[in-house]
Amino acid sequence: SAVISQKPSRDICQRGTSLTIQCQVDSQVTMMFWYRQQPGQSLTLIATANQGSEATYESGFVIDKFPISRPNLTFSTLTVSNMSPEDSSIYLCSVERPPNEQFFGPGTRLTVL
């Protein structure tokens, strides 16, 4: 298994500001994933983050809006930039454990006013 923590657990932000979400894993992992879960909805993959390379974004998500850092094998950040109320969601990070299991963090609940 993997123990994953996220900071902050929740935040309320003003329109136009940015928030950086941190994801810390208790062991080294190659790939980390960032998801968004809008209220009452399923999860949508934002991007995949490998250490030492640029993140790979899914359709509909761009680096300018959701810049990601992956400075080492246990840590990643996701920034939600220039926020609007439509960005209000739960943001989750996950890591992969072979053969094909992902472990998710507790999520960061973001409300944009």
Binding site: M31, S94, Q102, G105
Partner: protein, 111 residues
């Protein structure tokens, strides 16, 4: 990536068996079927994974027919704490395989 279809919601009572069927008509030869459980205010949690026939662990059983176009997650003797959203996913086992979540099934266990 194979698309999945599940019932939106199901109600049950404590002690009953809950069976959730997922359709995945265009599943690929190398795709596995995986189920996740999500409680409110938590991230999804892996429950079970299988390729064909039947898989059982301490939490659930997964039944997969020969054509693999559907699968059924079986939760034996549910309790109130099994109230959650259950997601069926299909995909390969290669490293970096991206998970595509469908709508999930909201299971409500009543006393």
């Amino acid at each position: 990536l194979a698309k999945t279809t599940q019932p939106i919601s199901m109600d049950s009572y404590e002690g009953q068996e809950v069976n959730i069927t997922c359709s995945h008509n265009n599943i690929a030869t190398n795709d596995y079927i995986t189920w996740y459980q999500q409680f409110p205010s938590q991230g999804p949690r892996f429950i079970i994974q299988g390729y064909k026939t039947k898989v059982t662990n301490e939490v659930a059983s997964l039944f997969i027919p020969a054509d693999r176009k559907s699968s059924t997650l079986s939760l034996p003797r549910v309790s109130l704490s099994d109230t959650a959203v259950y997601y069926c996913l299909v995909g390969g086992q290669a490293a970096g395989n991206k998970l595509t979540f469908g709508g999930g099934t909201r299971v409500l266990v009543k006393p």
